[in-house]
């Protein structure tokens, strides 16, 4: 019985161990915590990818580990392990590798695993709540200055409201359907349409809760402030994990047969997505803080993902592969982007501005190349993995045949491409008065391997390997979507 839940137990054990380690001042904030968090994350990942053969299926009602879930778990673990590795020898190292923070990081990962592996409404809600609470804490805890606390407080207040509305919606759906399993709920809702006054209300409330998590309009206003205020490791982790989590949930809902139920909602989805991408693209033009720009980019990326999700019910198997590929490309680009920003920050330069990046290409060429690759990938410049995902996005949008959507996506893509490229140009414009760089990142043996492998992945997946990757992903998606 415990064999199947071994990886989760390892994560729990890890969080307890690091919490206990925080009690001893000799260990707290030093190597011991780094070693233990990486150790537990690594072992847990191994057991997720190669699970022990389990004899009993006690928890199988609420916990199923198939290859589709393993893919998402792999992406999440890789994110956290890379970000922790990049945080070693950064300026916030002592604060990040404090026992309590390490413990909350592992708990947040645990909560996301719960959501990904389960189709039970109660477990999903529990996981989402735990995730939100963990991030509320992480956003403000590591760097306790006023600015950080303000961002965390905004996130906390809005997040609590969203969670309350979410639980209201979920409970209404449970009341209408009478069961907690997602597939049974959907079939119940389809078969008995007369309990309908509560179903639209419940679905709407649920949608608002998820839109908050996924940073879609009208609940996207917390994103820029919180991302700017949090320490960069948490920003990166929050950005990647919320997109992965909510996309996983949305795919579960859509693929369990909610297609015909969801069709009246597509007008609402169109409106939500349209407002999000327009908002993100236009407002990103006037930003100067790099983390805010990345926040707006996350909003527009989640908007684009939702568009591809909208074509999931009505279109072919290719849409599932497109979505997963989009997620992989987003993960890789964000790891590179946030990782480099983490390395460049120091005590005097806490929130990087565009002006700080001026002339980076001539002082620190490798960092500039890394940021260029990350931004080019987010923008969709060819030879990066983001280009392939942009192709998938446009095939999806055109497939939906809505001229307004096509026009919106084209214009917003144009605007956002332009402002990413402007940042890249900025790095290559040198300031003649500046002789040496104002950044002096402490040397770290983890930074180079992680960043180089992520950049190489971004380029290889955009040029030689997309076909191979899609072939690897395809069987997982097909089994999930039950397409022959």
């Amino acid at each position: 019985m415990f064999k199947s839940s071994l990886p989760i137990l390892i994560l729990v054990l890890g969080s307890i161990v690091t919490m206990l380690q925080s009690l001893s001042p000799k260990m707290n904030g030093k190597h011991a915590i780094k070693i233990s968090i990486l150790f537990f994350l690594g072992i847990s990942l191994l057991f997720f990818i190669f699970p022990l053969p389990s004899s009993s299926s006690l928890f199988s009602v609420i916990y199923q580990l198939d290859s589709y879930s393993k893919l998402f778990i792999l992406l999440l673990f890789v994110t956290l392990i890379s970000l922790c590795g990049l945080a070693i020898n950064s300026y916030l190292e002592a604060n990040v590798f404090e026992g309590k923070v390490a413990s909350i990081l592992q708990i947040s990962l645990l909560s996301m695993v719960m959501v990904i592996c389960s189709e039970n409404l109660c477990v999903i809600f529990l996981g989402m709540e735990l995730n939100s609470i963990a991030f509320f804490a992480l956003a403000g805890f590591i760097r306790p200055n006023r600015f950080s606390l303000e961002g965390a407080l905004k996130y906390f207040l809005l997040g609590s409201f969203a969670s309350a509305i979410l639980v209201f919606g979920l409970s209404l759906l449970y009341a209408c359907a009478g069961t907690l399993q997602l597939n049974l709920i959907i079939s119940a809702l389809r078969n008995s349409p007369h309990s309908l006054p509560w179903v639209p209300l419940g679905s709407c409330a649920t949608l608002i809760g998820f839109a908050f998590k996924m940073s879609l309009a009208p609940c996207q206003l917390w994103t820029p402030d919180t991302y700017e205020a949090s320490p960069t490791i948490i920003t990166g982790y929050l950005s990647i994990s919320s997109i992965l989590l909510t996309t996983n949930l949305a795919m579960k809902v859509f693929t369990l047969g909610a297609a015909d139920l969801a069709s009246p909602w597509f007008l609402i989805f169109t409106a939500i997505v349209g407002i999000s991408v327009v908002f993100a693209s236009i407002l990103a033009l006037v930003q100067t803080s790099i983390k805010r720009i990345l926040a707006y980019s996350t909003i527009s990326q989640s908007g684009y993902l939702t568009i591809i999700l909208c074509s999931l019910p009505t279109s072919s198997a290719h849409t599932g592969e497109s979505i997963v590929f989009y997620l992989i490309s987003f993960t890789i680009s964000s790891i590179v982007a946030f990782g480099i920003i983490m390395s460049l920050e120091n005590k005097n330069q806490e929130n990087l501005n565009l002006d700080d990046l001026k002339g980076l290409a001539y002082c620190m060429p490798w960092y500039a190349i890394g940021i260029s690759i990350a931004l080019a990938s987010l923008a969709g410049v060819p030879t990066t993995v983001g280009f392939i995902s942009k192709l998938f996005l446009f095939v999806s949008v055109v497939d939906q045949k809505s001229t307004l959507m096509i026009a919106l996506v084209a214009v917003c893509n144009c605007i956002s491409l332009f402002h990413y490229l402007r940042i890249i140009l900025f790095m290559y414009l040198s300031d003649p008065s500046q002789k040496s760089s104002k950044f002096s990142p402490k040397p770290s043996c983890f930074r180079a391997p992680i960043l180089i492998s992520a950049c190489l992945a971004a380029i290889l997946l955009g040029t030689f390997l997309p076909g191979h990757t899609l072939e690897l992903i395809a069987p997982m998606i097909r089994s999930k979507l039950s397409i022959p």
């Binding site: 060819p382 095939v395 055109v398 144009c414 332009f418 140009l425 076909g467 072939e471 395809a474």
Partner: protein, 528 residues
């Protein structure tokens, strides 16, 4: 050896990219310069090899390579050479080594970046010329945007940011329209035939779109190419780009980048959407000639060298594009298309030559500030010769490629229709006036500098610019050499176009029931 022969197009396309990466990675400036030069020179040699081994009797697409890229989605890495791409390829690889030689001795600090960006641009251009898979074509098309933006933005003059912004917005919008058109075509094919493919051949063979869809898709493809060409009224980005760009950026733009627009129009817009092309052809001719005359007149109000340059470019290229669109009753004219292509090629070579002359004048400006030698009577024979040859090529006087191109173009146009021929010749005439202003401006610049430093061309500079001018004269004396390789593809294009309309006329005539003999005769004549 066999492996090289089998992959020669890929090697030609990617050698500049590999040279760019190697050159950037090496620390010694001289070594990187030589690496960059050899990269582009090897590419040139390989494209000459392809040129010599391209057979006019075999089927059109040769040296093809196919690799799976996104197999699930039906997208493959498919490259092949046909006559059109061959000519543009050779021109592109011919100009690039000369570009590198032209800026050999520049400001050392950022020379490596500039040269690397030029080579990456060359790779993108060569790739887009040889790709036959629509998504692959789009890949290389977009890949040229970032390098030109960086060249313009980093190395430009005072208002470089403004110019590069305009460049990127115009071109991005065009590219996204192209992408939407490609996606539409891809999905329409999949809906009709059940399998996904973005191969040009498949999409050509299965082309049964209705007129409205064809018109929309034709517009989306053609607007993208029209922005790149540029075509009036989408030309304003080029004015700022040429005026604020580094001179070498002008050479790249006029010599290399703008030709992709013309190539794309011939290769994709016309074959894929013949009905829509027929519908819009008069409109395109009208706009092209309007653009040619407009630019030629507007050039006289300008004083900035870059803008004069841009207007001359626009005038010539608009005329060539108008020539492509000359069609009547389902017949494409092979002569006008050949003439237009030759005009574009010779325009590219001459404009690059003129740009090089401007670079040489600038170099002398910056180099010697205190030159006691104020021998104002110093002659500059080579400079004048180069200017003269490039000028008469652009104007279209005999002995140069420009003359031959004008001749063939107007011959074909008059063959099709007297009015169109007349209007085109008017456009050519007024375009020639534009060139006069350009040459006058360059002479003025050289005279102004002559007082101080400019006293002729260095040997290295002569070596850089002479190949271009020899090419111009060779094109004028032996145009058959250039056109013989292109001719089969243009013939095939015209044949397919004509047969498409003949089929349509036959279908429509078989549906009509003639009521009297006169009508029967009329239908039979119309089907010819």
């Amino acid at each position: 050896m066999d492996w090289i022969y089998a992959h020669i197009i890929s090697i030609t396309t990617f050698t500049p990219l590999i040279a760019a990466i190697l050159g950037l990675a090496s620390v010694n400036i001289t070594l990187s310069r030589w690496i960059f030069f050899f990269g582009s020179f090897i590419s040139f040699l390989l494209s000459c090899f392809i040129w010599l081994n391209y057979s006019e009797t075999l089927p059109i697409g040769q040296f093809s390579e196919i690799y799976p890229w996104l197999e699930h989605f039906g997208v493959f890495y498919r490259v092949e050479v046909n006559g059109l791409s061959l000519l543009f390829m050779v021109m592109c690889t011919f100009i690039c080594p000369l570009l590198i030689m032209c800026i050999w001795d520049e400001n050392v600090a950022r020379l490596k970046t500039k040269l690397a960006l030029i080579l990456i641009l060359e790779t993108g251009m060569l790739g887009s010329l040889t790709a036959t898979d629509l998504f692959l074509f789009y890949f290389f098309w977009e890949a040229t945007l970032l390098p030109i933006y960086l060249i313009m933005g980093i190395f430009g003059k005072q208002r470089a940011t403004h110019a590069s912004t305009k460049l990127i917005i115009f071109n991005l919008f065009g590219s996204l329209l192209l992408l939407i058109g490609i996606c539409n075509l891809y999905l329409a094919h999949a809906r009709e035939f059940g399998f996904y493919t973005s191969n040009l051949q498949d999409l050509l063979n299965s082309n049964h779109l209705d007129l409205f869809t064809q018109k929309c898709l034709f517009l989306s493809f053609t607007l993208a190419f029209a922005v790149r060409l540029p075509f009036w009224p989408l030309h304003t980005w080029l004015l700022d780009a040429h005026s604020q760009a580094p001179k070498i950026g002008s050479a790249i733009l006029s010599g290399i980048l703008l030709k992709t627009g013309a190539y794309g129009f011939l290769r994709f817009s016309i074959p894929l959407f013949p009905d829509a092309f027929n519908y819009f052809s008069n409109f395109i001719v009208g706009l092209g000639i309007l653009g040619a005359i407009w630019s030629a007149v507007a050039i006289y109000s300008e004083e900035d060298t870059g803008r004069i340059f841009a207007y001359a470019s626009i005038s010539h290229l608009s005329l060539a594009s108008a020539a492509f669109a000359i069609t009547d009753a389902g017949r494409l004219s092979v002569e006008t298309i050949s003439g237009g292509i030759l005009r574009i090629i010779s325009n590219g070579i001459s404009m690059s030559a003129l740009t090089f002359l401007l670079v040489f004048i600038d170099n002398k400006h910056e180099a010697g500030k205190q030159n006691a030698n104020t021998n104002n009577a110093a002659c500059t024979p080579w400079f004048t010769l180069c200017l003269f040859i490039a000028g008469i090529d652009l104007v279209g006087l005999p002995g140069t490629g420009g003359f031959v191109s004008n001749l063939i173009l107007l011959l074909g146009a008059f063959n099709i229709s007297f009015t169109k021929g007349g209007v085109l010749s008017l456009g050519a005439l007024i375009g020639a006036l534009a060139v006069l202003k350009l040459c006058k401006k360059i002479l003025l610049l050289s005279t102004q500098s002559r007082g101080n430093q400019f006293d002729g061309l260095e040997p290295m500079e002569k070596l850089t610019v002479m190949p271009l001018l020899i090419a111009v004269i060779a094109a004028g004396c032996h145009p058959q050499g250039l056109l013989s390789k292109v001719r089969p593809s243009i013939d095939k294009l015209a044949r397919k176009y004509q047969s498409h309309f003949m089929l349509k006329n036959q279908e429509s005539s078989s549906h009509r029931a003639p009521t009297n003999l006169n009508q029967v005769e009329f239908i039979q004549k119309g089907g010819q």
